[in-house]
C-alpha cells in the first residue's frame, strides 16, 4: 500500500476511477439481469408442461374409456366419443404450436411419439367425422389402434416429468447463479467499500495532520511576527497595509487598527521619497523588475506618526497569497545605531585629532623648549671661559647638570613622538659589545655604591666580539634599565649578564630590590606610568623611561620583558639582534676630538630668528676669532648675501617670512657674492630625509642643536676645507676611487631600495644632460651660469658618492673661479671619461 501512495496523483485518480467504474458496471449488469429475471418470473412464458402432459394422458384415457363403453355396447353415445376425441385432439394440438413445441422438440423421443399420435389422430378423423354406422363398425379397430398408443402416451407423460424437472433444475441453477453473483458482487462491493473507506480514512488523517501542521506553522509564524523586535509590515500590490505587528506599532506610532488598510506611502514613507516609492511600485507591477524586493538589507529613511524622520534598515521580500502577490517588509529602527556610529566616528576623529595635537604639541614643545635651553647651555659654556670664583663654578656646574637633565627629558619626549611616528632611525655600526657594557656599568658604579649596591657584570661567549648594531641606543637602553635597578635597590646586588644566542644577544639585568607587584608587571611599560612606589619614574617624573626603552628595543628589532617577585627583586631581559662581525674593524667615534686646531678667522653670517641662539652662536664664533654678521630671518640673510661674500653662512631652518631651505636656494641661485659660500644648517629637526632636503637645497652640512663650540668649530672647518683644500686634494684625485660606497649605502638605507634606485636613475639622466651642456665643444664662455651648473652637479655627485666626478667638477669650478682656464679642456675630457665609469658603477 505504501507503494500505492508513491504513485503519481493522476495515476492514483485513474486507478480509483477504474475500480469505481468496474464496480458500477458489475452492479449495473447484475441489476439488469435481476430485473430481467424478475420480469421473467412476473410473466409465465408457457403453460405448465407437466400438467398439460398429464392432462394429455387423462384425455387419452377418457377417449379410451369412451371407446370401451361403445364396444361393450352399454350406453351407446357416439356423441360422447366424438367429444372425447375432439378434446384429446385439441390437447395434442397444443404440442404442435406455441412455446410447448420448442420444449418437446428438445426431447427427440417425445417429438417422435407426438408425431405418431398426430398421425393416429389424422387417420382417425375420417372415421370420427364419418357416419355413425361406419364408426360403430370400425370402433373395435379404432380402439385397438388407440390402445397401441398406451406406452407412448405413458412415456410422453413421464418425459414431461423429466423435462419439467430439468427445467426447474435449470431455473433453480439460474436463480442460484444469480444469487451467487449477487453474493460475490456484494463481497466485492464490501471489499471495495472497505478499501475506499480505508483510503478515505488515510486521506482524512493526512488532511488532519496537514491541517494541524499548517495550524502549528501558522501560529508559530504568528508568534514570530508578533514578538519580532523588527517591524513587520505586509502590503499588497497597491501598497495597502495588510499586516502591522507590535514592533511596527512601537516604531511608527500607529496602532494596528489605524495602520491596516492604510496607504504605506502616506503613513511611513517620508514625503521626499514618496514619488520614488510609487514609481518603484508601478515599475515593479508593470515590468516585474525588482530593485528593492529580495535585494537584502537596505538603509533608508522612514517617517513616524509624529512626522519624525529616522533611519531604518529594511529588507523586503515578496510572497504569494490568496489575494495575489504581497510584499513583506522587515524594518529596524537604527536611529540609535546611526547615532552611536556618529558618536563613535566623532570620538575616533576627536581621538585622532587629540593624538595629532599631542604629537604636534610634543614636537613644538620640545622644539620650543630646546631653543631656550640651547641658549642657556651655550651661555653656561661661555661662562666657563670667563673669570669665575670656585663657588660660582660649582653653581654653574649645578645649573649645567640641571639644564642637561632638562634637555634630556625634552629629548625623551621628542624620542617618544619620533618612535611613535615611525621616524625613529637606528644606526648600524660595528662596536665591541663587552667594552660598551663594561663602560656603561663603570659609569653607573658610583651611583650604585652610593646606595650600597654591588654592580657586577658577566659575559658568556662574548669575549672581544665585534657586533653590528646601534651602540648609542644600546647604551641608552642599558643606562635606563641599570639606572632603574640602582634606584629601587638598597644595599643589594645588581647583576648585568650578556649571552650570545645565535645572532641575538640576551642581556639580563637583575636586582635584589623591592620588586614589582604581579598586577603591575604589564603596566610598567606603558607611557606616563608611575607606580605608587615610583618604580617607573627613573627619569625623575616623566614616567616615560621604560616606555622609551621598550620602543627603542622594538625599533632595533629586539624584545624586552620583565620578571619580578615583590620584595625579592626584578629581572629585566633584553634580546637584541647583534650579529657578530668576524672581520670587523672598529670605527672610532671621532666626534669628540677636542684637540685644538689652528683656526682661520672668517667672515661668518648667522641667519637665525631666535635672538638668544644668535647671541650664543655669535659669542662662540667671536671667541674663535671670527667676524660675525647677524640676520634675523631668511630674507635678511638673502639680502646680506647679495651684498657681500661670506666665508661661511650658518642658517637656521625654521624662520618666519623665509625659512632656511628657501633662503639657501635663493642664495645659491642668485649668483651673488656669497652664492658659492658653504652654508651650514642649524636645526632641531634632524631626520635623515630632512637633511637630504637641506643638501638638495644647497646646504653643505647640518648642525643639530644644541650647538657646542667643538661641533661648531669642526663644522666650520670642514665646510671651509672643502673650499680650501679642493685644489690641493685634486692633485692626486686621479687615483681616487670612483664611488664612495659608504655614501651610496647610506642612501639606500635612508631611502629604501626602490626610492634610491629611482633617484639614482634620475641623477644619471640629469647628469647626462648637464654634462652634455658643460662639455659642449662650442663653449667659449665660462660665466657664472657655467660655474653654478658645475657646482650644482658636484653637489648632486657628492650626494650619490660619485667622488671622482665630484672632485673633477670642483676642480673645474675652482679653475673657473680663479680664471685659470688653460687646464680646463683637459679636465673636461677627464670628466667625460670619469662619468662613463661612474655611470657603470651606479647602474
Amino acid at each position: 500500500m505504501k507503494r500505492f501512495y508513491t504513485l503519481d496523483r493522476p495515476l492514483q485518480i485513474a486507478v480509483y476511477l477504474t475500480v469505481l467504474f468496474s464496480i458500477l458496471f458489475a452492479i449495473f449488469t447484475l441489476a439488469n439481469k435481476v430485473w430481467d429475471d424478475v420480469n421473467e418470473l412476473k410473466t409465465a412464458k408457457s403453460d405448465n408442461m407437466q400438467w398439460t402432459l398429464s392432462q394429455l394422458e387423462v384425455d387419452y384415457l377418457n377417449l379410451k374409456v369412451e371407446q370401451k363403453n361403445v364396444i361393450s355396447g352399454g350406453e351407446v353415445s357416439l356423441k360422447e366419443l366424438r367429444e372425447k376425441f375432439d378434446v384429446f385432439y385439441s390437447r395434442v394440438a397444443i404440442f404442435r404450436q406455441g412455446p410447448l413445441v420448442n420444449l418437446l422438440a428438445s426431447d427427440p423421443k417425445a417429438d417422435r411419439i407426438l408425431d405418431e399420435i398426430w398421425v393416429f389422430l389424422q387417420q382417425s378423423i375420417p372415421l370420427i367425422d364419418g357416419d355413425d354406422q361406419t364408426l360403430l363398425a370400425e370402433i373395435a379397430a379404432l380402439s385397438k389402434h388407440t390402445d397401441s398408443l398406451d406406452d407412448d402416451i405413458r412415456s410422453l407423460a413421464l418425459s414431461g416429468i423429466n423435462l419439467s424437472a430439468l427445467a426447474s433444475d435449470r431455473e433453480r441453477e439460474d436463480v442460484s447463479q444469480t444469487l451467487i453473483m449477487i453474493a460475490l458482487l456484494k463481497v466485492a462491493l464490501l471489499v471495495a467499500l472497505l478499501v475506499l473507506s480505508w483510503i478515505f480514512f488515510r486521506q482524512y488523517r493526512r488532511m488532519m495532520a496537514h491541517a494541524s501542521d499548517t495550524q502549528i506553522a501558522s501560529s508559530r509564524l504568528n508568534a514570530v511576527v508578533t514578538s519580532a523586535l523588527d517591524a513587520v509590515i505586509v502590503i499588497d500590490h497597491s501598497a495597502k497595509i495588510l499586516e502591522f505587528n507590535g514592533a511596527a506599532e512601537q516604531i511608527f506610532g500607529y496602532s494596528k487598527e489605524q495602520a491596516v488598510g492604510g496607504d504605506l506611502a502616506e503613513m511611513i514613507v517620508p514625503a521626499k521619497y514618496r514619488l520614488a516609492h510609487r514609481e518603484g511600485m508601478k515599475r515593479y507591477l508593470e515590468t516585474g523588475e525588482k530593485r528593492v524586493v529580495g535585494k537584502g538589507r537596505l538603509q533608508l529613511e522612514a517617517r513616524r506618526k509624529s512626522g519624525e524622520i529616522f533611519p531604518v534598515e529594511l529588507s523586503i521580500s515578496s510572497a504569494e497569497s490568496q489575494g495575489g502577490e504581497v510584499f513583506v517588509a522587515f524594518l529596524r529602527d537604527i536611529s540609535d545605531r546611526v547615532a552611536d556610529e556618529e558618536e563613535l566616528k566623532q570620538a575616533r576623529d576627536d581621538a585622532l585629532a587629540g593624538e595629532k595635537a599631542k604629537a604636534e604639541l610634543l614636537a613644538v614643545m620640545s622644539h620650543e623648549m630646546r631653543t631656550p635651553l640651547n641658549g642657556m647651555l651655550g651661555i653656561l659654556e661661555l661662562m666657563h671661559d670667563t673669570h669665575l670664583s670656585a663657588r660660582q663654578v660649582q653653581y654653574l656646574d649645578i645649573i649645567d647638570t640641571s639644564g642637561k637633565m632638562l634637555l634630556h627629558h625634552v629629548s625623551d619626549v621628542l624620542d617618544i613622538s619620533r618612535l611613535d611616528s615611525g621616524k625613529f632611525e637606528t644606526d648600524k655600526k660595528k662596536f665591541e659589545i663587552t667594552r660598551l657594557m663594561t663602560e656603561v656599568c663603570d659609569g653607573q658604579r658610583p651611583s650604585a655604591s652610593a646606595k650600597g649596591n654591588r654592580l657586577t657584570t658577566k659575559f658568556v661567549d662574548l669575549k672581544d666580539q665585534i657586533v653590528l648594531g646601534d651602540d648609542i641606543r644600546l647604551r641608552q637602553v642599558l643606562l635606563n634599565i641599570i639606572g632603574n635597578a640602582i634606584k629601587f635597590t638598597q644595599d643589594g646586588h645588581i647583576s648585568v649578564q650578556a649571552e650570545r644566542r645565535d645572532d641575538d644577544i640576551e642581556i639580563r639585568i637583575s636586582d635584589t630590590g623591592i620588586g614589582i607587584h604581579g598586577s603591575d608587571l604589564t603596566r610598567i611599560f606603558e607611557d606616563f606610568v608611575t607606580l605608587d612606589s615610583s618604580y617607573g619614574r627613573t627619569e625623575a617624573g616623566t614616567g616615560l623611561g621604560l616606555g622609551i626603552t621598550k620602543r627603542m628595543i622594538q625599533a632595533m628589532g629586539g624584545t624586552m620583558g620583565v620578571e619580578s617577585v615583590q620584595d625579592e627583586g626584578s629581572l629585566f631581559w633584553v634580546r637584541l639582534p647583534l650579529p657578530e662581525q668576524k672581520d670587523g674593524e672598529l670605527e672610532t667615534n671621532s666626534v669628540e676630538i677636542s684637540e685644538p686646531l689652528p683656526i682661520t678667522p672668517q667672515q661668518i653670517l648667522v641667519v637665525e630668528d631666535n635672538q638668544i641662539n644668535r647671541f650664543v652662536v655669535r659669542e662662540m664664533l667671536e671667541k674663535d676669532g671670527h667676524s660675525v654678521f647677524e640676520a634675523n630671518d631668511g630674507e635678511e640673510g638673502v639680502a646680506f648675501c647679495g651684498r657681500q661674500k661670506f666665508d661661511t653662512i650658518l642658517m637656521d631652518i625654521s624662520m618666519p617670512r623665509l625659512d632656511g631651505v628657501e633662503a639657501t636656494k635663493i642664495i645659491r641661485e642668485s649668483g651673488g657674492p656669497s652664492a658659492n659660500s658653504p652654508i651650514i644648517a642649524l636645526t632641531a629637526h634632524a631626520l635623515p630625509d630632512e637633511i637630504f632636503k637641506f643638501n638638495e637645497a644647497g646646504m653643505n652640512d647640518t648642525l643639530i642643536k644644541p650647538i657646542s663650540r667643538v661641533l661648531l668649530r669642526k663644522a666650520i672647518r670642514m665646510a671651509s676645507d672643502i673650499d680650501d683644500e679642493r685644489f690641493e686634494r685634486s692633485q692626486d684625485a686621479k687615483t681616487d676611487s670612483i664611488i664612495d660606497h659608504n655614501v651610496l649605502d647610506e642612501l639606500w638605507d635612508t631611502l629604501g631600495e626602490k626610492a634610491a634606485a629611482d633617484l639614482i636613475r634620475q641623477f644619471v639622466d640629469e647628469t647626462e644632460i648637464e654634462l652634455d651642456w658643460i662639455t659642449s665643444d662650442q663653449r667659449t664662455k665660462f660665466d657664472t651660469e657655467f660655474v653654478n651648473r658645475v657646482h650644482k652637479l658636484a653637489g648632486s655627485a657628492s650626494l650619490f658618492g660619485a667622488v671622482r666626478l665630484r672632485e673633477l667638477l670642483f676642480q673645474i669650478e675652482t679653475l673657473c673661479k680663479t680664471e685659470r682656464l688653460e687646464g680646463l679642456s683637459e679636465l673636461i675630457r677627464e670628466l667625460e671619461q670619469a662619468w662613463q665609469t661612474t655611470k657603470r658603477h651606479l647602474l
Binding site: 420480469n39 412476473k42 410473466t43 409465465a44 412464458k45 408457457s46 403453460d47 405448465n48 407437466q50 400438467w51 398429464s54 392432462q55 387423462v58 384425455d59 377418457n62 353415445s77 356423441k79 360422447e80 367429444e83 375432439d86 378434446v87 385432439y89 385439441s90 394440438a93 397444443i94 404450436q97 406455441g98 412455446p99 410447448l100 426447474s168 431455473e171
Partner: protein
C-alpha cells in the same frame, strides 16, 4: 413453485374424480354451448344465438398455445355475468373435459376475459379449444401473462357455476 405444483396435482385429482359425472350431463345438451347455474339462480342455458346476440368484444393477441397473433371475438365475461345478475362472489368455470377453475368476480374486468366464440373470424370448434374459450388479452399487460391467468384461460368451456354471492 412447489405450491404451484401441489395445486396442479390437487386440481388433477379433482378432475379425475369428478370427470364421469359431468361428462354424462353435458352429453345431453347438444346445441347448448354454456350453462350458467348457481344456488340462488335459475339455471340458464345459452346457445350460440343468444351468445352472439350479446355485446361482443374483439381483440388481437398472441397466446402461449398458438403461433403468431390471433384475433378473438366474444362476450366479456363480466357482461355475461351481469346479464344474469352476478356482480360479486366467485364462479367455477368448468370445461368439457371437466377441467375446472375458480375465478373471483372481483378479478374480472369489463373487457377481460372474454368468452370467445370466434378465432380469426372462424367459429371455434371442439377440436380447436372451442366452442367457447375464456381468453385474456395477454399482450396487453404483463399481469395477463401469469400462471393464474393461464390457468383461468379455460378452453372447451361449457359451464359456469356461481359459487356464492
Amino acid at each position: 413453485m412447489k405450491i404451484r405444483m401441489k395445486l396442479r396435482k390437487l386440481a388433477l385429482a379433482f378432475i379425475l374424480l369428478w370427470a364421469p359425472l359431468f361428462s354424462a350431463h353435458a352429453a345431453d345438451t347438444s346445441s347448448i354451448l354454456l350453462t350458467i347455474s348457481g344456488k340462488d339462480l335459475t339455471t340458464q342455458e345459452l346457445d350460440f344465438e343468444t351468445l352472439s346476440a350479446m355485446a361482443s368484444t374483439k381483440f388481437e393477441t398472441t397466446t402461449i398455445w398458438t403461433d403468431g397473433p390471433q384475433s378473438f371475438e366474444g362476450v366479456p365475461l363480466k357482461t355475461l355475468l351481469s346479464s344474469v345478475g352476478i356482480t360479486q362472489g366467485s364462479i367455477l368455470a368448468t370445461a368439457v373435459n371437466d377441467y375446472a377453475i375458480e375465478i373471483p368476480v372481483s378479478e374480472i374486468s369489463d373487457t377481460a376475459p372474454i368468452v370467445a366464440y370466434r378465432q380469426n373470424g372462424q367459429r371455434l370448434k371442439l377440436r380447436e379449444k372451442g366452442p367457447l374459450w375464456l381468453v385474456y388479452p395477454y399482450d396487453r399487460a404483463a399481469e395477463y401473462q401469469t400462471e393464474v391467468i393461464y390457468s383461468r384461460s379455460i378452453w372447451q368451456l361449457d359451464r359456469l357455476d356461481v359459487k356464492s354471492q
